[in-house]
């Protein structure tokens, strides 16, 4: 094996990607798309919940007005605040607006209900609530609307109805509702992440999302660049250039050059993304941009985390791209290749089943063992590192095992690759592949 041709091949692979417009469009577009995907839905959701026209029929009496008042009043900071207790700030998604119309109970019950349904269908109102004595006895209130999947709105309605009904029931029992509210107020967890470089306050959800985000970013780039290797090999086969190159380059050199060049292109893209992320997640920048409310503690993306992410990308890429290269070499077109590639995706997707258990308990035996299994290491070790830094020996052991596994894979796949790239025609069977490995 010689270094020269490997470098020549790698240079071509790298620059033909990095010099292309598509590469930079993707590099810039992804962060924008991700931002859009997280911000837009909540904006749209807020808009769509801005007003719901709600008809309330109070068959019991005494609740209608209180409900209407409460639904409007909740938009202002808590009125029930007692001295010494900080009022709970309403979150944005809770401040949906209601236009309440109180409908008097009149005429035939069934007829009135039918009429209300008709008004919903006609678009005059969005939904109606029916408080009946028998319903309340069973702690139930009827809600009719064209869509009943808007669970945020429903949970708020149910909360308000519970509060109003509860208050009335307390009053009837001779208990001071305000006092009860003060005494039974929810207690929040103030989360602080303990880190070697200094503990700091951080939202639990934010930590979860960071781990989740890095996990999926790694999944995405590994898959994306792995498939680029496969498509590159297929392109060389179908354009018939491969034998021209083999005149001076050994197949193993071509394979390694390819892995190196495409891997570096992926690394370039990741470095751009991660530095942007690290810069933007610095506390000062966040405050300056006023992107987040003060009480949300963003997890800071440290250099150590980025370094591990990049190492894991390279390991994961080398592992899967080697297999993708063998698949590309053994097949004749993308359709054929995808059938084999399906087997690979299983290993990339499998870690997702362990996502939640590992985030919950990153030191469990299951988490430690699974993160040591080479095809799973890149994704699962990333998750563990993002959630809670595992002991160094575990990280190093996982890296060493994966590296050894990659060397083995390259040895096997180079044999398939060597024979496959010159084979045109029918797709090989697994038996034939086995023969290639044995005799190459």
């Amino acid at each position: 094996m010689r270094i020269d041709p490997i470098v020549t091949i790698a240079k071509r692979e790298y620059f033909s990607r990095v010099k292309s417009k598509g590469f930079w469009v993707a590099t810039l577009l992804l962060p924008i798309a991700m931002a859009a995907l997280t911000i837009l839905p909540s904006m749209i959701a807020m808009k769509s919940r801005a007003s719901q026209r709600l008809a309330i029929v109070d068959e019991v009496g005494g609740y209608g007005a209180a409900l209407a008042a409460k639904l409007v009043e909740e938009e202002k900071p808590a009125a029930v605040a007692a001295p010494g207790v900080e009022p709970r700030k309403p979150r944005k998604e809770e401040t949906a607006q209601f236009k309440v119309e109180l409908v008097a109970r009149a005429g035939d019950r069934a007829a009135q209900r039918t009429d209300l349904d008709r008004r919903v269908l006609a678009g005059e109102i969005d939904a109606w609530l029916w408080l009946s004595p028998e319903g309340l006895a069973k702690n139930e209130v009827e809600y009719h609307a064209e869509s009943v999947s808007n669970f945020m709105t429903q949970s708020r309605l149910s909360g308000v109805v519970s509060a109003v009904v509860g208050e009335a029931r307390l009053k009837a029992a001779g208990i001071d509702a305000v006092q009860v509210s003060t005494l039974t107020h929810d207690i929040d967890l103030e989360t602080t992440r303990v880190l070697a470089e200094g503990s700091r306050q951080e939202g639990g959800m934010a930590g979860f999302f960071l781990a989740y985000f890095l996990f999926f970013l790694l999944y995405m780039v590994t898959l994306l660049y792995g498939q680029q290797v496969m498509n590159g090999v297929l392109e060389e086969k179908s354009s018939r250039i491969v034998e021209v190159i083999l005149a001076t380059v050994r197949p193993i050199e071509l394979l390694l050059g390819k892995l190196l060049g495409i891997g570096l292109a992926g690394l370039t893209q990741l470095v751009v993304w991660l530095t942007t992320m690290a810069a933007l997640s610095a506390p000062a920048v966040l405050t300056a941009l006023a992107l987040l409310p003060e009480d949300v503690k963003m997890p800071q993306v440290g250099l150590g985390l980025i370094a591990h992410f990049l190492i894991l990308f390279l390991l994961g890429f080398a592992l899967f791209a080697t297999l993708y290269a063998a698949i590309g070499a053994a097949t004749n077109n993308v359709q054929e290749a995808q059938q084999f590639a399906g087997f690979l995706v299983v290993f990339l997707v499998a870690p997702m089943f362990f996502l939640i258990p590992i985030i919950n308990d990153p030191d469990s035996t299951m988490a430690v063992v699974l993160s040591m299994i080479p095809p799973l290491t890149p994704m699962l070790m990333m998750l563990r590192i993002a959630v809670k830094m595992p002991p160094l020996w575990q990280i190093l052991a996982a890296y060493a095992l994966t590296t050894a596994f990659i060397v083995f894979l390259i040895w096997v796949c180079a044999r398939i690759y060597r024979i496959g790239i010159l084979m045109y025609g029918k797709k090989p069977t697994f038996q034939e592949l086995w023969r290639w490995i044995r005799y190459a």
Binding site: R2, D4, P5, T8, R12, S16, S20, E235, E236, S239, R240, I241, V242, E243, V244, I245, L246, A247, T248, V249, R250, L422, Y424
Partner: protein, 338 residues
Amino acid sequence: MVCRFLQTAAGKTRRGWIPYLRTGVGFSGRKASQEESGVSNNLELREVRKAYGDFVAVDGVSLAVPPGAVFGLLGQNGAGKTTSIRMIMDILAPDRGEVLFFGRPRRLEDLRRVGYLPEERGLYRKMTVFDHLLFFAELHGVERRRAGKLITEWLERVELGAWAKARVEALSKGMQQKIQLVGTILHDPDILILDEPFSGLDPIAQALFKDLIGDFKARGKTILFSTHILEQAEKLCDHICLISHGKVILAGELAALKRERGGNVYRLTTSADRVTVAATRGVAEVLDQPSGLRLVLAADADPAAVLRKLVQHGDVTDFRSEVPDLETLFIQAVRHAN
């Protein structure tokens, strides 16, 4: 079967032997080695064999390409030409036998002195012409700055100077063939190996190829090319090696081969049928060719006696001695090999 021929440095045959095929008996070969003559062959295969499973693609092929030769590797499709060439280029490993470059076992760096054009060839469609040629040059170890100069010169020479910055996919097929050829010879190889170079070429590219082969030959370089089109080989080659079913069935200097066979090949036009002609005493073989029958006479036969016999069987309107063309040699050799 072994075939070797000795050459002087000038490329003229001094002494040589050709496997005598008419008896159908293979020669074990007299060792006419380079030590004897002091001249090394540029390229040599020794008893090379390659099998794919049960199918033996190349079965003990030996051939030697002397310096300055235009060497034609001939044979029908599937005869083993491409497999042989791939073994020369170290793309396939022979099961047995040896590949020698410049009179010694092949080294990896020897391949950089070769310009190889495979039968299955192509280019990266998305690369620019200049970058692509630069890539080819670098693969052959040409220093970057020198490569840039060479590329510009070559593009001018093949009249594609204006296309240097264009992507390969923007070029017509004929232009792409020119680029492919330039990529093969950019590093000024000592040996050119072309596998079916004329297949699928448009006439302009074909003319360019022929010019180039002539040019390389004039500069004393060695050229090996494979083809199944005998007329082409006849015009271009000075040495041939004929392969059939993985075995060498005829090899040697073309002129010498023709001379050997020239004395007893006759062209015949007669009213007698082919079977009668073949049964005539002194006729070793009858070849049915589009331009008429060719008779190969037995070594000890007297042409005049044969003609007298033929006249008895039918009206003979034409009977003349002929230098056999490559096709005649080919058919004869194939028939004897079978």
